[in-house]
Amino acid sequence: MSIRLTRIAVIGMVCHLFSAAQAEDVNRLSQTPLSAQAVAEQVYTAAHGGLVDNALSKRRGREVAVVVNRAPLAMRTQDRAPGVQTFDTYVNNAPQDPAIETLQMAILTSGKTKGTGVLFTRYADPGKGAVISMWLPALRKIRRINEPSHEDVWFGTNLTYGELVLRTPEDELHELLGEARVEECLAAMELQPWEKTRYTRHLPGPQCAHIGKPVYLLKSVTKFKNWWYDFHVSEIDKRTFALYKTVYYKDGEVIKTVYIDWQSLDQPDPRITYPRYIYAISHQDGKDSMVYVPRSTISLNVELSDDFWSEKTLQNYAR
């Protein structure tokens, strides 16, 4: 019997797509020889830091951020369209309360969970766990849920919460394998004609613009025992520390590859980027997932008070 009952808080993790920026002088860093550990830390900082006060992704016309999940190969049939979920997100990297590090909010805008909203409060005190408040529109009530674990799946995708949020450089042993250049286009979800719907017809194709960019090749071995992977090898932009490609290995076999297409937000500070898409494919069963955030949905440093990131907003958002 297969029962996983309450992996509900992962809905809240949609917020974590938004954290793109670099905290240090990347030009200086790119000219200095770095240790493997230092590269790993820079990647972490690039993915988790914040150079904007707030950022939001909100439906604009027919453009909206989507998560697309496609079933494993063995389960795919012609009458099975990939699962699609649209969402809006709001990230506050500079709350006035010094005890709070970030406030993140996500609201699902389609399907059965339409109107479900999540407020994710991360505290400055690293010892204090994050709090997730979830608005359940059908029940018209808020429930608080504790933070998921590293291995929990993220939003029904084949990505884990650990990969996107929890994993720190200290959780792995790093080895710099060398430097190279991006040789191939970053893969994207390629749908069969019968799998396309109006929500997925405009999903981006493979991104080839990164070809030729210099990258670090970093091997990271997990410190967790009996873990779902043994190590992964990552291609990391030497200048921006953007993580383009991560290949996971278990027992000597490639089990998963994650591609991230980092794009500029056309800000004066070129370090402010965002993940246009994340595409992850599990090689053992062929399941793949893609998160796509259209550029037109993104706004930065919008005039919003901290009160906006509240349970009240969640309750009223869909009304």
Partner: protein, 971 residues
């Protein structure tokens, strides 16, 4: 024999002698060719492929396997010998064991359940009052440091003890007296009281790991079972002093059966040795002992080669085929060898001896094989794959015996000539036997055999409860108020004392076997011992899959053509479904349906033979409890919320559901379950929900029941109870939207696999108006259905063909009637044997469908003896001037003694079949052996009396005695 026949026989004998070398080379070359295909024999032992896929139970099982998987479940039981399961070393071991078994080839780790499984989550709250759903067992095992380690164990224990779904499935509790404690109350519901009682009075001493494997396993089962056993042995060696390990499951069972067959292959050598000794004793020359075996061996290789070439899916039951060929072939070999030696004795010329032997044996041999074939021919029409396999390969193998024994042996005798002995004129024991029986059958005690047979018949009739069966049949409509009488009438069960249902594990394996006792001192069969141990510990060891679908059906998903480039809906919601825009479709988005299923599950859990159930409804109920328990309070303290949120339920538990600011406002039940469905979809791993609900349409799902009995009577009762519940509640709210199981006339698409192309199965309707249930319970019931269809039909069909064959052969209605009547006596004793096995609960040998094949085969073989005896009696009557006493004595001395030896050889050849752990081979051998002993008894002691009393003209043909004598003497 007619002149025409003699001419054919003569021509055939001359032809094969003229081309002796060519015939020998051709036969050896064919055998060599067949030998190359023997190792390709497709022995896979898959019960799903035994029965007709058009059977609704089987189709439902197939459908649930194809749609939801979980068709190859394994269970490992781990029970501590001292203390409880919350010991660090034990939990570490469980963690390692779980990792190792989920790493076995063909495993679907996502469908594994056990303490270390990621599915086992806390259903509690944190200190701050947030819902806590962390894994109960850390993903990387327990910490090494003591305080943290103990903390983790406490967390696991606490979490497990409040897990409504998985604790009853994964933890085995025992009270101080060693009795099992049940977490689910007698009403089928789990409540704070039922759980508290167990936690206070019982100790958790065992846990289980349930694993799912893919169908590819069936193609590589021997390699897989070595790995699976290797893991068990490793842990047994390390922890055997502290832990009892048990293992069971369909893949293990089936694979170990094939392995058992290979392991006990040496018994085949023992069988050959016995036959060799009997042949040598009979002929006192190695040529006469080895060449018959060589001939039969060639037939066996040719048959196995054909099996390998055709890639027919075979089961372990097919081990019977080479044995039967050996047994029957040796009989023919003895006939031809004896005739050859007699002719050699007369002429001293090997060429002449071979010619005469072939000429005068080929026709009776062909006729005899012809009657044997009818036993197989009749079962070839039965839509059960292994019946067909028996029939096809049995017919082929026996047909080759004409060449490999009757023809080849004399030809080889010319090359390897045997020496002559004085004993060819006859043995003393044969004459003594003939004289003794003749004295009995012509003296005042001649009634003794008849009375014995009548006695045996009456005992059999009594055991089978024939009287009760007939009484029920004649009770008519008036008696139908008694469900048992109605059942007997519906199933035409005239012998209710014989159980025709099947206990699959016991039909596969014996519980004890003699060879084990002799070789190792323990005759216990581990597969059964483990299964019985697990049955005592687990909620259930076989599954009942209830496929739930809507009557209305669902719309296909909208494609690109549903919307224009400008965003206008072109194909409306009445024709396609847009999951992001349209109201959710599918019955699993309706609270009243989920509630009806929940009530159904509660009823199932309250059934005495269903220990547990699992379904998507459990997900929804648990989520409902988690999300609606008052903030800051433990969800399991509100077990009353472990329910489907229908309006009455919400009104009954208003404190949890009432909408803020609205005195009588409650959430919309449908919207609530739709939200839960959406949340569960986005939080599950690939394939996790799909094991229980179709997330494409939300219009179908499955309820899996764990049945705690395999007793054929109780499994049938369980099926009837479920069907009865569904009939009674068919119009309940929610239920009226559902249909359960595959219905008649449905088309099931079976995808292509390997070289086998995709194909469609159309279901029939053997159970009109009743719900078809899948899982092993359904397979068991389907097997019972087939058994009820065939237990009379197959023998009747066989007897009809045998009757016609003997009628044509002897051109005598009376002879044909006598022979078939005597066959019916044997048949009745076989039913009596089945009744006896039923009465003692020996489910390895009740009259289940696999045993029924023995009825037809035994009838085909058994009539041989009658044919030989009648033919010889006629011959001897002619030879002895119509003197009955002399004719009878002479017949018994020759044919009678040969029949006795043939029977002994046949029984000897069954030694390998009777002495493995496999029950199916044992039971079929037992029924055939019983029938043959009975046949020999009747052929030697009753048939002559019948012939003498009824005086058929075929034997007693006045006025033709002298001509007959001459004819026979010439022969």
């Amino acid at each position: 024999m007619t002149t025409q026949h003699r001419d054919y026989a003569d021509a055939y004998a001359r032809f094969v002698l003229r081309h002796r070398r060519a015939v020998i080379i051709l036969l050896f070359a064919s055998t060599l060719l067949a030998l190359f295909f023997v190792n390709r024999v497709n022995l896979r032992n898959d019960p799903d492929s035994l029965l007709p896929l058009s059977n609704r139970y089987i189709a439902t099982n197939l459908y649930s396997d194809l749609t939801y998987g979980m068709g190859n479940l394994m269970v490992w039981g781990l029970k501590v010998k001292q203390g409880d399961i919350y010991q660090p070393w034990f939990l570490d071991m469980v963690n390692d064991f779980y990792r190792d078994v989920s790493g076995l080839e063909y495993a679907n780790p996502v469908n594994f359940v056990g303490l270390p499984s990621s599915k086992l989550r806390n259903l509690g709250i944190t200190d701050s009052g947030s819902l806590d759903y962390r894994r109960l067992m850390p993903v990387n095992g327990l910490a090494n440091e003591q305080p943290q380690r103990q903390q983790q164990i406490d967390y696991l224990r606490q979490g497990l003890e409040q897990h409504l779904v998985l604790e009853p499935l994964l933890v085995y509790y025992q009270d101080a007296r060693g009795n099992k404690c049940e977490l689910i109350g007698a009403d089928g519901k789990i409540s704070n009281a039922s759980v508290r009682h167990v936690h206070q009075n019982c100790r958790a001493v065992g846990t289980f790991i349930i694993g799912d494997f893919s169908n590819e396993l069936k193609d590589n089962h021997l390699q897989w079972i070595d790995q699976a056993k290797g893991v068990m042995e490793e842990y047994q060696a390390r922890y055997g002093d502290r832990v009892e390990f048990t293992i069971s499951g369909e893949p293990y069972f089936l694979a170990s059966m094939v392995q058992e067959l290979w392991d006990k292959g040496w018994l085949f050598g023992v069988s050959l040795l016995i036959i060799l000794i009997v042949l040598w004793y009979e002929f006192r020359h190695w040529s006469c002992a080895v060449l018959p075996l060589l001939g039969v061996g060639m037939t066996i290789i040719l048959t196995l080669g054909l099996m390998g070439y055709t890639q027919f899916r075979l089961t372990t039951m097919m081990a019977l085929t080479p044995m039967l060929l050996l047994a029957i072939g040796i009989g023919h070999s003895m006939q031809i060898t004896r005739r050859y030696m007699q002719e050699l004795q007369k002429s001293g010329d090997h060429q002449q001896a071979a010619y005469t032997a072939i000429r005068y044996t080929v026709v009776p041999a062909a006729l005899s094989i012809g009657t044997d074939l009818h036993g197989f021919f009749a079962i070839s029409f039965i839509d059960i794959s292994f019946y067909k396999a028996y029939a096809y390969f049995g017919i082929f193998g026996m047909s080759t015996l004409i060449l490999t024994t009757t023809t080849l042996i004399p030809l080889l005798m010319i090359t390897f000539p045997p020496k002559l002995h004085d004993r060819e004129s006859g043995r003393g024991w044969e004459l003594r036997l003939a004289k003794g029986i003749t004295r009995l059958l012509t003296g005042p005690l001649k009634w003794l055999p008849v009375v014995s047979v009548i006695g045996i018949w009456l005992v059999s009739a009594y055991a089978t409860e024939l009287d009760r069966g007939f009484s029920a049949l004649i009770a008519g409509e008036a008696g139908r108020s008694d469900p048992e009488i109605a059942r007997i009438q519906d199933e035409f069960d005239i012998m209710p004392g014989v159980e025709k249902g099947i206990h699959y594990p016991r039909a596969a394996y014996k519980d004890h076997y003699l060879l084990g006792e002799l070789l190792t001192g323990s005759g216990e069969v581990k597969a059964i011992a483990d299964l019985e141990a697990l049955s005592g510990m687990m909620p259930g060891v076989i599954t009942a899959n209830l496929v739930i679908r809507s009557k209305a059906g669902s719309l296909p998903p909208c494609g690109l053509d549903a919307w224009s480039e400008t965003g206008q809906r072109v194909v409306g919601p009445e024709r396609c479904f847009d999951s992001l825009e349209d109201p959710p479709q599918g019955i699993f988005n309706r609270a009243e349906v989920l509630n009806a299923l929940s009530n159904f599950e509660d009823w199932l859990r309250g059934h005495p033979h269903i220990g547990f159930t699992a379904s998507y409804v459990q997900f929804v109920k648990t989520l409902n409890m988690l999300l609606n328990a008052p903030e800051g309070e433990s969800p399991v303290a509100h077990m009353n919320l472990y329910a489907i949120p229908t309006l009455p339920h919400m009104q009954q538990n208003a404190y949890a559901y009432r909408l803020p600011g609205e005195a009588e406002g409650y959430p919309d039940p449908d919207q609530t379950v739709q939200l839960y469905n959406g949340m569960l979809t986005t939080s599950a791993e690939a394939g996790e929900l799909e094991a229980f609900v179709n997330t494409r349409t939300w219009d179908e799902g499955i309820v899996v029941g764990f049945v705690n009995t395999m007793d054929p009577k109780l499994t049938h009762q369980t099926i009837r109870d479920i069907q009865s519940y569904l009939q009674q509640h068919a119009d309940d709210p929610g239920m009226q939207l559902l249909r359960i199981g595959v219905e008649a006339g449905e088309e099931i698409q079976i995808p292509a696999k390997g070289e086998k192309p995709a194909h469609t199965v159309v279901t029939g309707d053997s159970i009109p108006g009743k719900a078809a249930i899948g899982g092993f319970l359904g397979v068991t019931e389907a097997t019972r259905d087939v058994a009820f269809k065939e237990w009379l039909n197959a023998p009747v069909a066989t007897s009809l063909t045998v009757f016609l064959m003997t009628l044509i052969m002897f051109r005598s209605w009376m002879i044909a009637s006598i022979l078939i009547s005597l066959c019916f006596i044997t048949l009745m004793t076989q039913y009596g044997l089945g009744a006896y096995m039923t009465s003692i609960g020996e489910w390895s040998a009740n009259l289940a469908f696999h045993v029924q094949v023995a009825l037809s085969i035994a009838m085909g073989l058994g009539v041989d003896y009658g044919v030989y005896m009648v033919s010889r009696l006629r011959e001897e009557m002619r030879a002895n001037g119509e003197d009955w006493r002399l004719a009878l004595e002479s017949t018994l001395a020759t044919t009678g003694s040969a029949i006795l030896i043939s029977m002994l050889v046949l029984l000897g050849s069954f030694i390998p079949l009777m002495n493995t752990e496999l029950a199916n081979l044992w039971s079929v051998s037992l029924y055939i052996s019983e029938a043959l002993i009975m046949d020999v008894f009747i052929a030697l002691l009753v048939l002559p009396l019948m012939v003498n009393w009824l005086r058929p003209r075929f034997v007693f043909r006045a006025g033709l005695g002298n001509r007959g004598v001459r004819g026979t003497k010439e022969g």
